[in-house]
């Protein structure tokens, strides 16, 4: 229904503004409803300014910045309506070390409400995980579960 959509939108955009400030360490982010094909079905416009920048459009953002904006929107939605489970497949591939660190800290702050599974090549991300599964193809063409490192000595942050 329209009320439910409007209420959801209002909450998610407040969250989005806060999370952008956190993940970009400053800057501004906002969501706006636009006149879509019909007033019943408005579109959603995203605008983000990384700290110190004056971008005319989000298409000018870099690869890593675009990934961060998407991550901000995802977690803005989670704040509004946590999902019990989330699988992220190499979402950190385009992030530099500093942003991988910030992303993992954000992830950890949600770890109580949502169960995350992260597929990654990033050594830094692995250090944040509490369970680590290695997959191998020692026999070509057949996947095997290598080993389980349970309750890794998660370094208390």
């Amino acid at each position: 229904s329209k009320e439910l959509f409007d209420k959801t939108f209002a909450e998610v955009s407040t969250n989005f503004t806060a999370i952008v400030k956190n993940l970009f360490e400053g800057g501004t982010g906002a969501l706006k409803l636009t006149n879509g094909a019909s007033p019943q079905e408005p579109g959603v416009e995203i605008s983000v300014q990384p700290p110190g920048k004056r971008l005319q459009s989000i298409s000018l953002l870099s690869g890593g910045e675009k990934a961060l904006v998407s991550i901000c929107l995802l977690f803005a939605i989670f704040l509004h309506k946590p999902s019990p489970f989330c699988v992220l497949d190499e979402i950190d591939a385009s992030l530099d070390e500093a942003n991988v660190g910030r992303f993992n800290k954000l992830l950890n702050s949600f770890a109580g409400k949502t169960q995350f599974i992260l597929i990654t090549h990033n050594k830094l991300t692995i250090t944040y995980a509490s369970t680590l599964y290695g997959i191998t193809m020692e026999v070509p063409g057949v996947s095997k579960l290598l080993s389980v490192q349970l309750e890794k000595m998660v370094n208390s942050e």
Binding site: K66, F85, D89, T136
Partner: protein, 165 residues
């Protein structure tokens, strides 16, 4: 945890029965290129009822069945089971533990099971409607698609908000 156990057998590159147990905190899955990590993501999407084979990188759905390797023959069926802890009744069903199973035979015939009892696809998708894992799941982010939300048109973004409403 919500997901307690995932068992994959005969789905894509998992020729042998493989079981993952999940614990508190987040789980990382690592391994070389082509070893089968994204196939685990596909297995989860599939067991939750995904009907569009392209979203699983398959020209046709029977491509999910293990197609053989240098040493092994192709299998005739793909099966994935997912066990969920439901003591907090997040899923609208009486059981404290729910196991959903999906099977697909080379013939194209598919089976869905709920705690080992045959059921329909609708019974499974209905369970997850309110969890963000429903029709346009915002909590499953595919490889190389993280900036999908930023690159899509403002109209397409609506669907994510409707799912969250």
């Amino acid at each position: 945890p919500f997901f307690k156990k995932l068992t994959i057998f005969g789905f894509k590159s998992f020729a042998e029965k493989t079981t993952f147990k999940f614990h508190e905190g987040f789980t990382a899955i690592v391994g070389p290129n082509g070893c089968g990590k994204s196939n685990i993501y596909d297995a989860i999407r599939w067991v939750l009822g995904e009907q569009n084979s392209y979203l699983l990188r398959c020209p046709s759905m029977t491509n999910v069945i293990f197609n053989g390797s240098a040493d092994q023959k192709p299998l005739g069926v793909a099966e994935v089971s997912l066990t969920i802890g439901n003591s907090s009744k997040i899923l609208p069903i009486e059981f404290n533990e729910v196991t959903i199973t999906r099977r697909l035979y080379r013939s194209g015939e598919s089976e869905y099971l709920l705690n080992k009892a045959p059921c329909r696809l609708k019974d499974i998708t209905h369970l997850f409607l309110d969890t963000g894992l429903g029709h346009s799941p915002y909590s499953l982010i595919e490889q190389n698609k993280v900036d999908f939300i930023v690159n899509s048109k403002s109209q397409e973004r609506r669907a994510i908000f409707e799912e969250a409403a």
